[in-house]
């Protein structure tokens, strides 16, 4: 499997009233063509900031260090050093993103078809009008929008939540990117619709050999869409491995706790994690999970644990393993 995205020691720092904070802290990950990586974390874990960094959409004043390289159709691009002009050839054409709330990310006063056409024209301004239209309908069709010609003439508010998310996926894929970042794409949807969208993304990944970075707080969703999973806590990846392996035999106490705190259809086994996610302005020394961890030792406050490989491809950041 050829590597599409390789991130090494990526750190994002943001200025706040209380000084610089690091929502993304020395993150490394790799996504191959046709591979799906689930990125799991609760609010404040840094998962959204990481995806914005990969899209070149960080807020002004953000400081970035480390490396993120993307294999494009023609060359390898260093994402952390691209200028805004260079980003225009990458964003949409090489990496695209689907957001959580399709209603707020679509233009409410523009027809669906026109919005997809806009995404195509942005990268191929010389394409004749009827060809742009044809490709837009194709894109909607690929995202399994029923009656794409009729839907293209409608406005976002006339579509259901599920159809809006399909339209968003059509737009994201319109310019033929090889890597898709999906940030909680089904969180605002009903479970029955969620299942359809997850099946759609999975199908597109196989068919187009898309690399998929799937961001979610829901471990059940990860189990369904991701081959590999990375768990983020307070800006760092604290566990990574094959999804099946991580969910069945989690190594890090946080991953274990998250699984025990996730409601399932079986009653009774729910165990919450005490406390709350730490503020980035007041991170504990050493392991960030230490104050909430029931297995903590005195050494846990000394240094940030190294990422330790257990099997050939399952690693975690905990001194107990």
């Amino acid at each position: 499997m050829s590597t599409l995205l390789e991130v090494r020691g990526l750190t994002v720092e943001l200025p706040t009233a209380a000084g610089w904070v690091r929502p993304v802290n020395e993150v490394s990950l790799r996504i191959g063509a046709g591979e799906s990586l689930g990125l799991v974390g609760e609010s404040g874990s840094g998962k959204t900031m990481l995806s914005l960094a990969l899209m070149g959409l960080l807020p002004l004043g953000a400081r970035v260090s480390g490396e993120a390289s993307l294999a494009t159709k023609t060359s390898t691009k260093k994402l952390t050093v691209l200028s805004e002009r260079e980003w225009r050839d990458v964003r949409g054409a090489e990496i695209a993103m689907v957001f959580q709330e399709p209603m707020t990310s679509l233009n409410p006063v523009m027809r669906i078809g026109a919005q997809v056409e806009e995404a195509i024209r942005a990268h191929q301004p010389k394409l004749p009008g009827n060809e742009v239209k044809r490709r837009a309908i194709d894109a909607l069709l690929r995202a399994a929008v029923p009656e794409p010609e009729a839907r293209a003439e409608q406005f976002p508010h006339q579509l259901s939540g599920g159809l809006r998310q399909r339209a968003m996926i059509a737009m994201a894929l319109a310019a033929g990117p090889r890597l898709l970042i999906a940030d909680e794409p089904t969180t605002a949807l009903d479970v029955t619709v969620q299942k359809q969208i997850l099946d759609l993304l999975d199908g597109l990944r196989r068919e187009l050999q898309l690399g998929l970075l799937f961001i979610t707080h829901d471990l059940g969703v990860v189990a369904q869409v991701a081959e590999r999973v990375a768990v983020m806590y307070a800006g760092r990846i604290i566990e990574e491995g094959p999804a099946r392996e991580v969910l069945a035999r989690p190594l890090h106490p946080y991953t274990q706790g998250l699984l025990k705190a996730s409601p399932t259809l079986k009653r009774g086994a729910l165990t919450p994690i005490p406390g709350t996610v730490p503020q980035l302005t007041a991170l504990p020394p050493g392991c960030a999970f230490e104050p909430r961890c029931h297995l903590r030792l005195a050494e846990c406050t000394a240094t940030v644990p190294a990422f330790r490989l257990i099997d050939s491809d399952h690693a975690a950041r905990c001194i107990l393993i």
Binding site: S43, V191, T192, G220, A223, A248, P263, L270, I273, V277
Partner: protein
């Protein structure tokens, strides 16, 4: 089992569109709740589960008369709630309180937590001395896991989970018999949501509370429900004991909802 709440043929319709710019003809109506009947026994958790737009929130609000039903019957301990007005309604309402979904939107950002939690006392027990009011407020805050220092602070200083605890404290301070909880954990992170679910269960045992628990999530409902009603398009399509609905569903829609739940592999 003693019946606490009786609901008969409750119905609510809204006018569809009908705004100044609407092109739709007047009089077109949309039925949010379409003749729902059920009884809630004292001490149980009656869960209503359904997808967005099924009418579950309208139903929840009608139970407390925050939304007026068009027709139907609503009895609390046998008393006809829909016939009550003014002081009599207010007296009944203190027995039934609501916990809302969004702890960011349901707390007044300009009020201190002490004022937010004690406000129901000021309304329903105005003769209470300020010392007694403070004592009750501190006690209930402590019970939901918040210290005395919370009294003087504002909602924005708290995390989502802590805010939901504040909302629960406010709902409990009048020692109500019935709590209607509308998606109480769906805005919270997984690890914190589990804390709040367990807190609600502890409080139920301790104070003998009865819950009507509204949620879109079958896994969440599975943790707390005595009985589950599955709602679709304003009607209950199936009602039964939690174990029966979750493991031996009879209705096709219930089966569809269950099969759409993403499952975790367990070791």
């Amino acid at each position: 089992m003693e019946t606490l709440l009786t609901v008969r043929e409750l119905r609510k319709t809204y006018r569809r569109g009908g705004g100044v710019f609407s092109q739709e003809s007047d009089g077109a109506r949309f039925t949010a709740v379409d003749g729902v009947s059920f009884e809630v026994a004292r001490g149980e958790t009656f869960a209503v589960v359904g997808e967005s737009g099924c009418g579950k929130t309208t139903l929840a609000r009608m139970l407390l008369r925050l939304i007026e039903p068009d027709s139907g019957e609503l009895r609390f301990e046998g008393r006809d709630l829909l016939a009550l007005r003014g002081n009599a309604l207010r007296a009944e309402r203190r027995q039934m309180q609501m916990v809302f979904q969004d702890p960011y939107a349901s707390l007044n950002p300009r009020m201190r937590v002490g004022e937010i939690v004690s406000e129901p006392l000021a309304i329903h027990e105005p003769s209470l001395s300020s010392a007694a009011r403070l004592e009750r407020t501190t006690a209930i805050l402590r019970r939901v896991g918040l210290g005395e220092d919370a009294l003087q602070r504002y909602p924005h200083e708290f995390s989502g989970g802590q805010r939901q605890r504040i909302g629960i404290a406010r709902a409990l301070i009048l020692q109500p018999k019935l709590i209607v909880a509308d998606e109480p954990v769906s805005a919270l992170d997984v690890s914190v949501g589990a804390q709040v679910l367990l807190l609600l269960q502890e409080l139920q045992r301790e104070f003998g509370l009865t819950y009507v628990f509204i949620s879109h999530s079958l896994p969440v409902v599975a943790q707390v429900a005595t009985r589950i009603a599955v709602m679709r398009a304003g009607q209950f399509v199936e009602v039964g004991l939690a174990g029966q609905i979750l493991h031996h569903p009879k209705n096709d829609y219930t089966r569809e909802l269950l099969s759409a739940v993403p499952e975790l592999p367990r070791s």
